[in-house]
Amino acid sequence: MTVLDDTILYEKTAMQDRAAFETLYDRYEKLVYSFAFRLTNDRTIAEEVTQDVFLKLWNGAASYTDEKGKFSSWLLTMTRNKAIDEIRRLKRHDHEEMIEKDSLIEQPGSTEAQVEWNEKRSDVHTAIRELKAEQQEIIELFYFKGLSQQKIADHCKLPLGTVKGRIRLALKHLKGLIGQEGGVSND
């Protein structure tokens, strides 16, 4: 249902329908901003990333079709791409630095999207805690820090050629655990 809705809203947005765009904006503003913050750990960069993502959405600089998967996944991929580019560009992040977890006050979500998000977070969070520490770390370094293969190898003291395999293994393991938690990956 949400998928269909998003696609229709996206198509209207592409036709410069401002109301449709605003609906999409309201639906995803907080998720995009929070995700950008999770990646950059910097409110200013998180806002720049959010601006960039929604402007691209509005001015058609990025185009979405159903073939690209879920709209939300596409939007979040754009968010991640911009965020990791910014981190690299600004070189503000030392890749050794760990993200301060639990430093922010969590607030109960109210809108439908936020309720869904809260449920997913809880499932993914439970699943990720079941992974071995090394697997949690490689996901953090690969996905949230966006490090190069070489840096991941150095950090985890792994031969370069095994990094990709380790990442896939950790992600597959996680996906399996998420599936057990109640099928977040299904719609």
């Binding site: 968010t79 922010l104 996905y143």
Partner: protein, 242 residues
Amino acid sequence: MIEQCHQLIDYFNRTLSQEEQQQFENHLTDCPSCQEELLELQLLTEDLPYLSEEIDVPSDMKSRIFATIDELATPVNSPETIVPTPLETSERPKQKRFNFAIPSLAAALFASIVTNAYLLNETNKEPEIAMSDVELIAQTTLASTVDDENATAVAMLLSNKGEELLIVDSTNLPALADGELYQVWVIEGEKPYPAGVLDSTKGSVSHSLKDLTGKWDTIAITIEKEPDLPAPEGSLVLAGGI
């Protein structure tokens, strides 16, 4: 396995150089294994953004983004906007970052503006910082005063650390006779002040208003025989309120 297959992680994480990225994309079109693995990575990571803790967005972020969108949505050059319309200068956001405030038509001016902002601030070695200090104060379209629908210009008033800069970029101005030039004026009430001469090839000028202070209400372009006269002597070509 081909050597390039090993670059998949770096492609996904955008750490490849532009050239390497291009080469990898070429490889991707012929390598079903990489296509499959890339798709798999996308699917396996699609739940991860939801791990982000929910944080409060800045209360004025939405209004800033929508203000930018409004600027982008106004086609500066369309016939109905030929009538000079001052932009809402009263509603300027406090810290409007310049890179979010570029109207589409004026985007081409971006480079020259940044250069100017940079030059105005030579002691600052960091262009990024200079850029963020540039604020768009107002922007307007100058319309033809002689019924020439094609001739138009965009004027932008910028502020860099309190120092004002006027950028004018014209299109389709009639050709000048030998010895003539296009003079830009800023006008406060009845009093005009010369504000630069359009570059004859580019049709644009950026002019520091450092030595001028005033509440400009109009920007005009006239044809003159000498630059920077105390008052216009030639004919008025374009004008617009700001």
